[in-house]
């Protein structure tokens, strides 16, 4: 049975060849350089430019802005986990889970360098165009403590 990888959200790009690294994309205003996560934009909410916002590849390295440690969530979501806001050098921030760190405020430092990693979070079976069942691996991105 074939395994196909699929990104959990459109902002995550999974290259076709395994030797390329997955990366995040943003959309940058040609008028003021404001950068957004998520496509389908009609214009720029910062400067009111209307028109295409070209896609930009985002760094896989950033710094931790703030976080919360979630201990209670909707049914089926494992807790505790660290929900974090990470600032990227392109001037955009991304919301993510901070992993490979104890969910303890004493262990988490504001401004700490963090690196992006991708992991399979779930799989689902789907019938492909030929009617054959295949397994879809859902890939998500995370950030973990990194180097300066």
């Amino acid at each position: 049975m074939t395994h196909t990888q699929r990104a959990i959200a459109p902002m995550l790009r999974l290259p076709a060849t395994p030797d390329e690294k997955p990366y995040l994309v943003g959309y940058r205003c040609p008028a003021c350089n404001a950068t957004y996560i998520g496509g389908n934009r009609v214009g720029c909410s910062k400067c009111t430019y209307v028109g295409d916002l070209p896609e930009v590849r985002l760094s896989d390295h950033g710094t931790l802005y703030v976080y919360s440690i979630v201990h209670q969530s909707a049914p089926g979501i494992p807790v505790p986990y660290v929900s974090a806001i990470v600032d990227l050098p392109e001037g955009v921030s991304v919301r993510c889970n901070l992993v490979d760190i104890e969910p303890d405020p004493q262990k988490i430092e504001f401004g700490m360098p963090v690196d992006m990693v991708t992991r399979k979070v779930r799989e689902r079976k789907e019938k492909n165009a030929h009617g054959d069942e295949e397994t879809i691996d859902i890939i998500a991105f995370f950030f973990r403590p990194g180097k300066d």
Binding site: V66, S68, Q72, S83, R95, V121
Partner: protein, 378 residues
């Protein structure tokens, strides 16, 4: 624009009413407000109903179907947690514009047990909640509190003290969903929901309704000798700020609303006798001390330490018990804030009365985002 006055307010005790329906609760609050105003539904020229979860159910009309189908314009608004206060603002505009002399705003919500953990983020069919961080309110307001810790060295204990204060206030409000005092230890040792907010630092979910009758200056003399003036009604949306679309910025739109409200009312924070603000989480209340100009930036932690916002302090905040105790039936919340300010300005607050209350500010924020501020004067 004409001056607008609140002549009647009504509110049912917030709690759980699984056997009632939304229009029934709204109608009950409406009847209480009409009775308080000494008015009849026949006097009302427009009805605005704020309700979020049944925004398509025509509840304004259903309320009239319960208490009087007079054929007046009836409309339904939703604006996240600012739904009820947006209904008040629409009713205010109706009178201020000169179009009507008497309008009614009803805010009502039936939350059941769904609570603030309902929903959760999806992206193109894949659930991302808890994988790409959390978009649910507890984490959002946890992060907002942590941002204040980062900038100003605020501690988890500062936030916990907010909860202690509001629970202490609630004991004197018979319409509050909970009327229980808690100690700082109780709050700090309660189950963590999303750091730094523990269980007692998150508002409970429940059902409720509140209503307000607004009138023009020409009309009030027929009904009351003690009208409460709406000195200003302000609504803002979130302006662009750097992280707003990733991490909702609850501060800037409140700062903008406060600035506009103080200018338009000709009243500054130093003139306020009391404030009812949007303490959906304990972290939120502390941020809004600064956003509303009750203290300087970075001073909010000290403000709660010094007890300035307690009943008896120089600027009591959430003497009703706040959302943390009173409850937060989304559509009802903004109208209930008006209820509390009016009650206080009339000197009818009983054991929770702020001595000599002359001016009060009601603040609500709905994530997404919408912020309302109403300043009322005796």
């Amino acid at each position: 624009m004409r001056d607008v006055y609140v002549v009647g307010v009504g509110m049912i005790k917030f709690g759980r009413y699984p056997d009632k329906d939304v229009s029934q609760m709204g109608a009950e609050a409406g009847v209480l407000a009409l009775k308080d105003a000494g008015a009849s539904i026949k006097d009302v020229e427009m009805l605005v109903c704020g309700n979020l979860f049944q925004a398509n159910a025509m509840n304004a009309q259903k309320i009239l179907q319960q208490i009087g189908q007079t054929g007046i314009p009836a409309l339904n608004v939703s604006n996240a947690c600012a739904t009820g206060s947006t209904a008040v603002r629409e009713a205010y505009i109706g009178v201020a514009s000169g179009m009507y002399d008497v309008t009614m705003a009803v805010g009502v919500e039936q939350m059941g047990k769904m609570g603030l953990l309902g929903g959760g983020a999806r992206s193109g069919g894949e659930s991302v909640e808890g994988v790409l961080g959390s978009g649910l309110m507890p984490a959002v307001f946890g992060q907002a509190g942590v941002e204040h810790m980062r900038k100003h060295g605020t501690t988890a204990e500062h936030f916990a003290k907010i909860s202690v204060k509001n629970h202490k206030h609630s004991v004197h409000n018979p319409l509050s969903q909970y009327q229980v005092e808690v100690s700082l230890d109780d709050v700090m040792n309660a189950r963590m929901v999303a750091y730094p907010n523990t269980l007692y630092m998150c508002c409970p979910t429940g059902d409720g309704a509140a209503a307000a009758i607004l009138m023009s200056e020409d009309k009030i003399k027929q009904f009351t000798s003690k009208p409460i003036k709406v000195a200003t009604s302000v609504l803002t949306s979130d302006p662009y700020t750097d992280r707003d679309l990733t991490m909702p910025d609850v501060n800037t739109l409140t700062q903008n609303a406060a600035k506009e409200a103080y200018e338009k009312a000709g009243i500054g924070p130093q003139d306020l006798s009391l404030v009812e603000l949007h303490d959906c989480f304990a972290t939120a209340e502390l941020l809004h001390y600064e956003n509303l100009g009750l203290c300087a930036e970075g001073e909010a932690g000290r403000m709660i330490d010094e007890g300035r916002t307690e009943l008896g302090g120089d600027i009591p905040v959430n003497v009703s018990g706040g959302l943390l105790s009173k409850g937060h039936p989304l559509g009802a919340t903004g109208v209930a804030n008006i209820y509390e300010i009016v009650t206080q300005l009339r000197g009818q607050g009983g054991a929770r009365q702020v001595e000599g209350a002359k001016a009060g500010l009601a603040h609500v924020i709905g994530l997404g985002s919408a912020c309302t501020i109403h300043i009322l004067t005796a």
